[in-house]
């Protein structure tokens, strides 16, 4: 297997955007291509979760390729629900690693703030098991069911979840690409509107527009994809015996570290999928960065803050950077690449190895990617 490098990375500011989805994706893609010094890629992998429902566009890989000025460049679309961006990265990685292409543009995006919130909830909720959906289960509802179990086991965990939100908003305040660039206090989190008991509005990520892109090459560049892994689990939450850990993340992390040839102790910082604040705590333990049961303590002690031992979500995470569905898995990679190459002004970390973890659906299709500065 050939080494695969990230030669360029780009993204739009995340938030409520007036541009069309193809325009946002073109913006991110051309920044990434310019950074890589490549005018025309050999292939394009496009990630978008629900363009048919949100924007009415189909045949979306060709649509994006033509819109970018690459009408004759082969393009495919990859979809694994909310982790589609990470899945697209893997599809591009496999092309370069197998020697089929010398370079691949991977671009993901979503546009949904122009749609009403109940409608957006319903569309995203289609990634849930049909029986659970028939009972009105949405992503926040399932996250609420999980958070309830965490709190029953460890009564202090609600405070830990709130602290995740406070920390990630503090990081987002330093990121000019973030949806939310204002800090929030613990009191504000705990006084925000109840969404899915015990989860409140400020425990949940926003609905965002945006796009992110990377260029993968066989030619040596400053950041290498050291490992990448996928994990899967049941579509139905009720079929799982354990609700406070995601088997799909554990399997993905195991595969990624096996490919990398080193373990979580070598990771300097990480971007984790905090669509709901409790998911950052669960994910921290699932990827092996902290021992089981210790994520809450590490968060309260400031270990995962920007100036801590193990900064988590320096970008602000899904919570504050925002969550434009299929852009998110790639936005995590862009943040890691910018951090590893000294381009994260205002929130710059020191470190050589980064991890990104992306959750698809209710942790049915998860990805872990390990990046290394070379």
């Amino acid at each position: 297997m050939d080494h695969v490098f990230v030669a360029g990375a780009g993204m739009t500011r995340i938030g409520r955007r007036s541009e069309s989805l193809p325009d946002l994706m073109a913006d991110a893609a051309h920044v990434a291509l310019a950074a890589a010094g490549i005018e025309t890629p050999e292939m394009i992998v496009v990630a978008s979760m629900n363009p048919e429902e949100f924007t009415g566009d189909g045949n979306f890989a060709s649509h994006v390729a033509s819109h970018l000025g690459f009408a004759r460049v082969p393009a495919i679309r990859v979809e694994t629900a909310t982790s589609s961006g990470a899945a697209a990265l893997h599809a591009g990685f496999a092309q370069v690693a197998a020697g089929l292409r010398r370079n691949v543009l991977v671009v993901g995006g979503e546009k949904m703030t122009h749609i009403s919130t109940p409608r957006v909830s319903e569309v995203i909720g289609r990634s849930i098991d049909p029986t659970e959906r028939a009972y009105g289960a949405t992503m926040p509802a399932l996250a609420g069911l999980i958070a309830r179990v965490m709190i029953a086991r460890q009564p202090g965990s609600l405070r830990e979840m709130s602290q995740v939100a406070v920390k990630n908003h503090a990081n987002g305040a330093r990121n000019p690409y973030a949806h939310f660039q204002e800090p929030v206090t613990l009191e504000e989190v705990n006084a925000s509107r109840m969404v899915a008991d015990p989860l409140r509005l400020l425990h949940c990520c926003p609905i965002s527009d945006g796009a992110a892109a990377v260029v993968l090459t066989a030619e040596r560049a400053r950041v290498r994809v050291a490992g990448i892994g996928q994990g899967a689990d049941t579509l139905a939450l009720r079929h799982r015996r354990v609700l406070t850990s995601f088997a799909a993340t554990r399997a993905a992390a195991h595969a990624a570290f096996a490919m990398a040839g080193f373990g979580p102790e070598r990771i300097d910082f990480a971007e984790l999928h905090d669509a709901f604040a409790p998911f950052e705590l669960i994910s921290l333990e699932d990827v092996g960065l902290v021992p089981p049961g210790k994520a809450g303590r590490a968060t309260l002690d400031g270990e995962t803050a920007l100036d801590g031992r193990l900064p988590i979500n320096p970008s602000g995470g899904l919570k504050a950077r925002g969550h434009p569905l299929a852009a998110t898995g790639l936005a995590q990679i862009v943040e890691c690449v910018w951090q590893l190459t000294g381009r994260a002004a205002g929130r710059q970390l020191q470190g050589r190895r980064a991890l990104a973890q992306s959750i698809g659906g209710l942790a049915t299709n998860n990805w872990v990617t390990v990046l290394e500065a070379v």
């Binding site: 109940p118 409608r119 909830s121 009105g136 949405t138 069911l145 008991d197 015990p198 009720r238 079929h239």
Partner: protein
Amino acid sequence: MIESIQASRCPRCEVVVAPPALYCPWHPVAMTPTTVDPVGDVVTFTTLHSPPEGFRSPLHLAIVELDGGARFVCHGAETRGLRIGSRVAIEAIDDIYYFSYLGTLDRAKLFWRRAGHAGDRVNAIARSLAKRVWKGKGSHRAAS
């Protein structure tokens, strides 16, 4: 109260799922139809204040571990006093399932009502009660 809930069992790993499924989630094996008792313990629950289109707020949702082993998603009229591990009965209204919290009196009634039906049910309920006593009051056996 309904008599039973339709479910299916995997002939290979014995897992029971409700509602019934064609294939086991864990094995590419056709499942065998079975039924489970409409009584169980609350695994977890939530109240959704921003339900999707077609549902009224607040929407109470729970995952219940039925005595036959299947974990089941259902609605409830309210969650006041409900805890993880609470004993609930499942009711059906127009094919939609609801949990209702069983206090000590309800459980005693259920026990005697079922006692009139069949001896094996008595044994099953007695075994379930004995197991609960054995595990101690307030233990969250269904907690993940």
